[in-house]
Symmetry: C3
Subunit: 337 residues, 3 copies
């Protein structure tokens, strides 16, 4: 995959080589993300951080990643109501707003809108989430986290066992991650969900035809040798009534007691966040907060690295990072990471 | 006109010499806007980008222009509701907010509010639109676009023929542009609008007394030798009923067929944007999107140049741009402009 | 007090030595705030400016202070509605959002929330106001202003006479300021308010036990030798009816005539802002705008200095400011301050 000048719209664009290229650059971003060094390789470049749907953490993560490479950020939050009310096309919006920046990160509630915007844009566009469709940087940061966490446990993605738990039908995150994982070898998937919320057939087909071992189940049994457990939220609004939802949640929650009983001592715990910390939902209990295998906040850290890597690749500076390095003279808690 | 430290509140401040000064500096901004070079002449300066009325594109255009000169941007979108609800005067708001920046770009829904704010401000204020009153940077970028497009066709503003089409009564844009054009020589104006939406008398007087040739008409005939056609929106809410509005729109729209029949092959097409791309409105059809004379997106590009020029002049650095130049090392699609 | 890496959550953290340390660094910030010099000591550092409750001036003041030290600002305004609606804990929000910055300035409507956030944060947090609880940077800038204004009049905080006027019951500002002033010697407090809005007993106890001379009164008499008059707003919504409120306002307003009659020619006039400039409220009349003792806008200027000092101390660069100095080449009205 040729990154310079490219749009990043879908996980489908990435083959195994492209993924490893992104991850290799993400690794090189660590000294900058940890504030051990500073790089100004994007000095003078402007990110258009266009969040037509609010998402504080994704928006700030993109902005921070760009700042850490030395660039500036101009941004917008929420619908550009006046222009849309006046009937402006997404093409026009894209033509105009792309006048103001060198690269665009964009979120929009409508599936397909980011690709449509990219058609009108005169600069590369990175999809920050377009409705139920795609959120490729989330999928990449999930995979990057899995690879790093497994490496820490002296394991690899090839041959690993991942449990995905909860709402596997509507969760954009697990769909995209599954597509990426299908490119690896001999992955064992245990897909634990109520039947009504099971993984869609098209994803199952992709996994099957790639030769992976897939178990679809409604019960948590069989997870004892999982290397990764990826929890998702049970969305009670999908159910006929609260009792049904509560019954599912009872089965699909994860807390210290369940973890100890059903998983290995080093099974890595992931979640796309935000998690519902309320007792009645509790898909991932706070009593796991001190568990060293809880990787959910490392996912957020990794998101910055992945976004830095994509910016560097798209703007063609992945080999110039060190050349524009300077020292960091202030104290940062990040240096302890 | 002495620019350093001045407020930019109205097109009335500009004489022919001042306009040419702005345009000359805008021309010098091209290498920076096209990312061929970077200048850091405003390193450490802070723009207060105060949009008390939302306007994504104007706000981002001002912010981008400031970043491209090396400055930082602090901004606000929407009404400062709490302070206003507590009865704070615009004078107090101005005194306080001007503590935080070196220059302010401000939009506000109330006519006259930007000038009132400027009275309390301790730093220069650039009007980014104050209700129905003024939007001087839009008028300047329109004129700058006209001059550049005509030059490309080996023509000048002196002696040109411009058609203004649509709602000429309420359109702030065509009023300000007409005032600026009145300073040139021997311009021919064809003002095409329904009688109810015709150009106000005070603007007509200015054009008449400056000796320009003005034709007021409800029909598109007579436009065949126009050098510029400036389309505006027909605002259906101004009409008694939809049928009336539709009838007007039928006459005042512009599409490929009408363009070919009523204009020269090189008549430049302009519009203040956003345009209404819906079929029922269609003041400027998408079937003209590939027409090389369509200048509407070049208007947006020129807006950045004009705003950069005004910032440089107001902060007194128009002769220091090159001294603080650095190289651009990242890939930018802007370099192809 | 050890500042590097510390949270700034409450005025209670500050002893006399810590206060003088902050003020000494604030003094050193003047050439940068006045744009006589530029420092880039925080080059590459990122402020997370998280305003979960809107407050334009405090938000922009923090952002400007960080920019003036060379840092970048990522920010959010308003509630992160989606995450909270999905039941995310403040701990999770803090863990994630602190991934993106080196220091956080945070405002939140709920008392105690900033401290709770700080528990989850991996970087230092500065309280920008948490409901009725604390707003320590406001208290510090008020005290800094008092000290500077008194110095100009050849007076000191020790031994001064301050009148606090208006709503002393609900005003967070006067409570925090009183706590800070209690650390000085022999201050005379005249606390002028309607009985229903008098200073709470716990604050009076602090002042009493520190040996200060406190007069609680409903009448403005006895203010003739005050060195400072600190006006606050009378909030009519606290009263049974408008007439009662008006009666109080009649007594507790300040204008040129009252000032001349009840205060010394050099009594310094302060107010936390915004002030209600409407005639029916008028706690501080516009006819005092040209009075050289009116310090309310100098308070805003000082707020930038105090916030710069806190950032420098917290990030451990207070001794490196000059080392990373550069020249300012653009024209700034700030240079005349």
């Amino acid at each position: 995959m040729h990154f310079t000048g490219a749009n990043i719209l879908s996980v489908k664009q990435f083959d195994a080589e492209a993924i490893q290229q992104v991850f290799s650059i993400a690794d090189q971003m660590q000294p900058y993300a940890h504030r051990k060094k500073r790089t100004k390789v994007l000095d003078g470049a402007i990110l258009g951080n266009l969040f037509f749907e609010p998402s504080t953490r994704t928006r700030v993560s993109f902005g921070t990643a760009f700042n850490l490479l030395g660039g500036e950020v101009r941004e917008t939050t929420g619908m550009e109501s006046s222009a849309i009310a006046k009937g402006e096309s997404l093409y026009d919006t894209a033509r105009v707003l792309s006048s103001y920046s060198d690269i665009i990160a964009m979120r929009h509630p409508k599936a397909g809108s980011v690709a449509e915007f990219a058609d009108g844009s005169r600069v590369p566009v990175i999809n920050g989430g377009d409705g139920a469709n795609e959120h490729p940087t989330q999928a990449l940061l999930d995979l990057y986290t899995i690879q790093k966490e497994l490496l820490h446990n002296q394991l690899t993605v090839d041959g690993m066992h991942i449990c995905m738990v909860g709402d596997l039908k509507y969760g954009r995150t697990v769909h995209s991650l599954s597509k990426l994982l299908s490119m690896y070898k001999n992955v064992r998937f245990t897909l634990i969900s109520p039947r009504e919320l099971s993984m869609p057939d098209d994803i199952l087909s992709i996994l099957d035809s790639a030769g992976h071992r897939v178990t679809v189940t409604e019960k948590i049994e069989g997870s004892l040798d999982a290397d990764i457990v990826y929890q998702t939220r049970i969305q009670q609004e999908r159910f006929a009534n609260l009792q049904d939802a509560d019954q599912y949640r009872g089965k699909f929650r994860l807390n210290h007691e369940i973890y100890t009983r059903h998983y290995k001592p080093n099974t890595v715990i992931m979640h796309p966040l935000p998690r519902d910390s309320r007792a009645e939902a509790n898909e991932l209990d706070n009593d796991l907060n001190q568990n060293p295998n809880l990787a959910i906040f490392r996912q957020a850290d990794n998101g910055v690295l992945i976004r830095m890597a994509l910016f560097a690749l798209t703007l063609g500076v992945e080999n110039l990072l060190q050349k524009y390095e300077t020292d960091v003279v202030w104290h940062s808690a990040k240096a302890n990471l």
